[in-house]
């Protein structure tokens, strides 16, 4: 499984800090790969809408995260922000942020 995380925007939106980062689950240690797959299952990632955020239209300077996952021919991209009403997706984002720091 191939996962890409890209951060965009924010008050301090600096392109060089917002580069795309990717991981392959095959390159992860066994326990992390298992953890990641469990997180993905609880989010029902491939069924999520394209945008997940609790922010209203007037919001500004929020960071946006673009998560793209490709698995056995399936590919899906979800945009999210830090203001979420979705604990499993929050945990997935935290995991990916930590892994790709």
């Amino acid at each position: 499984m191939h996962i890409e995380l890209k951060t965009e925007g924010g008050f301090a939106a600096i392109p060089a800090l917002n580069k795309s980062r990717t991981i392959n689950t095959e390159d992860l240690p066994e326990h992390e790969a298992v953890e990641l797959k469990q997180l993905l299952n609880t989010t029902h990632f491939f069924a999520l809408p394209k945008r997940v955020s609790k922010l209203p239209p007037g919001a500004a300077d929020y960071r946006q995260y673009k998560i793209t996952i490709e698995d056995k021919g399936k590919k899906h991209t979800v945009y999210l922000t830090d203001v979420l009403d979705n604990p499993p997706l929050r945990r997935l984002l935290d995991f990916l942020k930590a892994k790709m720091a």
């Binding site: 965009e8 925007g9 924010g10 008050f11 301090a12 939106a13 600096i14 392109p15 060089a16 800090l17 917002n18 922010l55 209203p56 239209p57 007037g58 919001a59 500004a60 300077d61 929020y62 960071r63 946006q64 830090d82 203001v83 979420l84 929050r90």
Partner: protein
């Protein structure tokens, strides 16, 4: 009548002046004397009453009838989680709580409120006295501050590249201004309208700082987020209105990506179409207009931009050109078609490549 000592509301007299006048002309000597005395008092009362009528309608009662121009600040501590808004750490009127981020946010909210109230008579974000809220300690090592549509949210920075985001007054001014924009023009946060949104937030964020320091346009540094970077970073600020593209140049951060002219407009899908990048162009236009005119930038250039922001001609998808025309029209309305203010605004936009034209009145 008004002469009774224990009248509950002496301001609101019963007999109108025209009846008192008739009595003063046609009544008995005692009645005429009384009526004349009342008329004299009454004029004073009417004058006092007029003086007490506020220039604008009072604030909406549903929020507890706050007096105009009164702040109602609440600072929340998110305690390094993502669960907004967090717990209350300081309320309006309370002394310093000892948490630097919370106290900085409280102070900066106050200064931003004061700026809008004292300079433009704007009563809080919505001009109706809406309470001001900020949440601090959002996330962990969080290198950002944002406007969530109703309140400001601040991270602590990672301490490596960034300091805490409450450290700069213009950051708070910038975020609160997003609230003002949301109340007025509602500029969509994408592409040119989004860059305009960002620019207006930077401009008024900078003006809040300049007003606080009583700096003229010549004295101001025109920087956004000076103080945000740690000493490790080679840069003076996040953005520069007087020289977009020069605020930082660092091995880790790269170079400040902002253009100062339309010919360098950045076409990208990232960052909602580059809202934090292309804001450099209208930012620079404001800087040029303000320094052309000199003096305090909030008085003339700031007033023109503020009036333009509130102009009904601004649509949610307005771009640079449309907004530029609206600033010019407002400058004409405020200062006259052949004023130096109009000239400054027109020149400023043209210098950044936004081609507005205007017909000069006959000589």
């Amino acid at each position: 009548m008004c002469q009774r000592i224990y009248h509950r509301h002496p301001i609101f007299c019963i007999l109108p002046p025209y009846i008192l006048s008739k009595i003063s002309q046609n009544g008995t000597p005692e009645q005429r004397a009384d009526a004349l005395k009342t008329l004299a008092t009454d004029s004073t009362m009417r004058a006092l009453r007029l003086a007490q009528i506020p220039a604008r309608l009072p604030s909406v009662p549903s929020r507890g009838i706050p007096m105009e121009g009164n702040k109602q600040r609440t600072i929340f501590d998110v305690q390094n989680t993502f669960d907004l808004p967090g717990d209350i750490i300081r309320k309006e009127g309370e002394p310093l709580c000892g948490d630097p981020a919370a106290d900085e946010a409280y102070e900066a909210l106050g200064r931003t409120f004061d700026f809008y109230w004292q300079v433009y008579e704007r009563n809080s974000i919505d001009d109706e006295g809406i309470p001001l809220r900020a949440s601090v300690h959002f996330g962990k090592n969080y290198n950002n501050a944002f406007w969530d549509g109703l309140a400001m949210v601040f991270g602590d920075g990672d301490g490596d590249l960034f300091n805490r985001f409450t450290i700069s007054l213009d950051v708070i001014g910038h975020e609160l201004t997003h609230g003002v924009i949301g109340d007025e023009a509602r500029l969509q946060y994408f592409y040119q309208s989004g860059a305009l949104n960002e620019s207006i937030a930077d401009i008024f964020g900078s003006l809040v700082k300049q007003y606080s320091l009583k700096q003229s346009a010549e004295e101001a540094d025109w920087l956004i987020g000076a103080g945000l970077f740690t000493a490790k970073i080679n840069g003076v600020a996040l953005r520069s209105l007087n020289a977009p593209g020069t605020a930082f140049d660092d091995p880790l951060l790269g170079k400040d990506p902002q253009p100062a002219h339309m010919k360098n407009f950045v076409r990208t899908f990232e960052d909602n179409g580059g809202v934090h990048i292309n804001s450099g162009i209208p930012n620079h236009a404001f800087y040029l207009a303000a320094t052309y005119l000199g003096g305090y930038a909030w008085e003339k250039a700031g007033r023109i931009w503020y009036e333009a922001l509130r102009d009904r001609q601004v649509r949610s998808n307005s771009g640079f050109l449309r907004f530029a025309k609206i600033t010019l029209r407002n400058a004409m309305r405020l200062y006259g078609s052949s004023s130096v203010e109009v000239k400054a605004v027109g020149e400023a936009w043209r210098e950044v490549g936004v081609k507005i034209s205007y017909l000069l009145p006959p000589a």
